[in-house]
């Protein structure tokens, strides 16, 4: 009887998006290394465009002095992940995003962006534009679709207010859409801890008598799940495990005993493993710190100098390639293979 598979094991999230901390580090380091190679190669190619080799030396040395480490990449990405949260709130205030879809859109967008940067580097695709594309994609995936014009209008309004020269255009978002989906391996279904926390809350009602306190803890766990989205926990553990970790953090704060529920409900042998997982989740979530705006600005400024010209729409190389191909519908890499 027990040779039947578990349903959750069939999810693409379980099959393709699970890692260990070490493999994540390795993957990111390898991407970073290859990204740097591409930046240097792109700079050399650009020098060929108009046979102007005089600038090459300075450009290369500028770039090599300002290359980002994997950790810096992560910090920068994290800053823009926070932006997703801010944008989601403002779209909700505009009435463009249904309040019940808010959590899922936000979490899916964050997840997409995290997944995207497992296979890409910020040198090629700066997180600012990827963030918007991921967000727009997430609204579609989570059934909270809005028109691209509606999506861009508030962004433009904010930009005019800030007095910035560059205006976000529809194409900026749509052009990257296919690149993002491709990097996501066309797997767009993401499972979040929110729903698992909802289920856990229903389940615990049968075991915990203090209903008011339990509701308090459930509401509070939402905050910790929000925090967990920014960490790498999504790549390490299952959504129910993260939800339970958030529950335990909230329960510790509100002084509710959840361990009794667990020991009553589940086999003690299974709990042994679960407790180490929960410990790790709790430690990671409570130790997590978002990148500050100041740090992000410093990294962003470095990034301007070490971007890959091959993928930079304002570079000469990109313009030449685009002109050679005629009208390029989107930034695609498949032709370079």
């Amino acid at each position: 009887m027990t040779d039947k598979p578990q349903l959750y094991e069939q999810a693409s999230q379980y099959r393709h998006w699970r890692f260990t901390r070490e493999s994540l580090d390795k993957l990111r380091a390898a991407n970073n290394e290859r990204g740097i190679e591409r930046v240097l190669r792109g700079l050399r190619e650009e020098a060929h465009v108009d046979d102007d080799h005089s600038m090459l030396e300075t450009r290369v040395s500028e770039a090599t002095n300002n290359l980002l480490t994997p950790a810096e990449e992560l910090e920068l990405i994290d800053y823009y992940l926070q932006m997703i949260k801010v944008y989601a709130q403002s779209y909700r205030k505009n009435g463009l995003l249904k309040p019940e879809a808010l959590d899922n859109v936000k979490a899916t967008a964050i997840n997409f962006m995290k997944r995207f940067y497992l296979h890409n580097v910020v040198f090629d695709y700066p997180p600012k534009s990827i963030m918007l594309t991921c967000f727009y994609l997430a609204t579609k995936v989570e059934n909270a679709f809005m028109k691209i014009d509606d999506f861009v209008r508030p962004l433009q309004a904010a930009e005019t207010k800030r007095g910035s020269k560059v205006q976000t255009k529809n194409e900026d978002i749509l052009e990257l859409e296919f690149v993002v989906i491709q990097s996501l391996q066309f797997e767009l279904a993401v499972h979040h801890p929110y729903r698992a926390a909802y289920g856990l809350y229903l389940e615990m009602q049968a075991y915990i008598n203090d209903a008011a306190l339990l509701k308090d803890v459930f509401d509070r766990s939402h905050h910790y799940i929000d925090l967990s989205l920014f960490t790498d926990l999504v790549f390490l553990y299952q959504p129910p495990q993260i939800a339970l970790g958030a529950f335990k953090l909230a329960a510790r704060e509100k002084d509710l005993d959840i361990d009794t529920y667990l020991t009553q409900r589940f086999d003690a042998r299974l709990l042994e493993m679960l407790f180490t997982v929960l410990d790790d989740i709790q430690d990671t979530v409570s130790a997590f710190k978002n990148t500050s705006q100041k740090d992000a600005q410093v990294i962003d400024r470095k990034l301007i100098l070490c971007r890959n010209p091959e993928k930079n729409p304002s570079s000469k190389l990109y313009k030449k390639k685009a002109a050679g191909q005629g009208d390029v519908p989107y930034v695609s890499d498949s032709d370079s293979d």
């Binding site: 393709h16 690149v179 729903r195 229903l202 890499d333």
Partner: protein
């Protein structure tokens, strides 16, 4: 450590012999059977009544070595050899403070260095080498690592509780198995007796050939004991052959076969079913599913929804996180493959 802990729970009796005698008052066990010999931090034996006498009024010097002792510091040793007692106690004290584990360290080398350091301190305490410095180091470590010490302590306590739970559950399971087995034996015995009784009855009342009657009854006997056994173990293949040879009737044997070939159920889930018990009422945070609301979507009852949600919360709760040596086999292959495609 565990020896002392079980001693504290009074599972292990304190050490005593018949020719114990108190070095102070010279009273002997031979004369005073209830005598308890205690030791203090300086490991000099002294009987309980002497302790009362000397230390009742407050701290006083040890009669042997003049070290100042208090009454509360005396206890009954559980080892005959007091150096062993001393070592066990020192090690227990060290283990309470230095309770880091291998997983708390980045590399095995760090862990080994830490163990070496702990062992070095223990050795100094044991053999009285630079004790003051060692004590100072231990105090300092304690102060610097209060949080991690407490955390590991609670971890240890929790593991102990879980272990107890596991062994309890196991014991209950064994007990149930045993009871079931005994019940089965009883049943078999009773059936045999009934069969025997029937046989004698048949022999007494029927006018057929006695040999035939015995043969027919033997077949029944065999069959019943076999069908009984099949509840616990799979029927062997030779049962059919055996029965065919004997030529008994097959009617009630066919049931057993049906168990092996369960009928195909097209509506059955291809996935492992989950153990979820629904309550009749939930305080549902989703307003659409609150008690008393009529549901908008057809075919979706409140119960179905709640079952989905709860199953979703339990599914994967016990999924093992990937382990480093599993990664090479599974994940990297899939993920590096895709990593190539967008960029290279």
């Amino acid at each position: 450590m565990s020896v002392l802990q079980s001693a504290q729970k009074q599972e292990i009796p304190a050490f005593q012999t018949d020719d114990d005698s108190c070095p102070q008052c010279k009273s002997e066990r031979y004369l005073n059977n209830g005598m308890r010999l205690l030791v203090g931090p300086c490991y000099h034996r002294i009987c309980e009544s002497c302790v009362q006498q000397i230390f009742d009024a407050g701290p006083a010097p040890c009669p042997e070595c003049r070290r100042i002792l208090r009454k509360a510091e005396f206890y009954q040793p559980i080892f005959e050899d007091l150096t062993v007692e001393n070592e066990v106690r020192i090690r227990m004290r060290m283990a309470a403070t230095y309770n880091k584990r291998e997983e708390d360290f980045k590399s095995l080398k760090d862990y080994n260095t830490y163990l070496e350091m702990v062992e070095d301190l223990t050795f100094r305490l044991l053999y009285d080498i630079n004790t003051d410095e060692a004590e100072y180091l231990i105090e300092k470590y304690k102060r610097d690592n209060t949080a991690s010490i407490e955390k590991n302590q609670s971890k240890f306590r929790r593991e102990e509780q879980l272990q107890q739970l596991i062994s309890n559950q196991e014991r209950i399971k064994h007990q149930q198995q045993r009871e079931e087995y005994l019940k089965q034996l009883e049943e078999e015995k009773r059936e045999k007796e009934v069969a025997k009784y029937n046989l004698i009855n048949a022999l007494a009342t029927s006018d057929k050939d006695a040999k035939d009657i015995v043969k027919a009854n033997m077949v029944h006997l065999k069959k019943s004991s076999l069908s009984n056994r099949s509840a616990t173990q799979k029927p062997r293949l030779d049962i059919e052959a055996l029965l065919r040879n004997v030529g008994g009737d097959f009617d009630d044997e066919d049931i057993e076969e049906e168990d092996e070939y369960a009928p195909f159920d097209p509506a059955e889930s291809p996935y492992e079913p989950m153990d979820v018990e629904l309550r009749s009422r939930y305080d549902d945070p989703n307003p659409a599913f609150r008690q008393g609301n009529t549901l908008a979507a057809a075919g979706m009852t409140r119960e179905v929804h709640q079952r989905y949600v709860i199953e979703g919360a339990i599914a994967g709760l016990f999924a093992q996180p990937l382990h480093e040596d599993m990664v090479d086999a599974e994940a990297t292959e899939a993920n590096f493959r895709s990593a190539e495609s967008p960029n290279s």
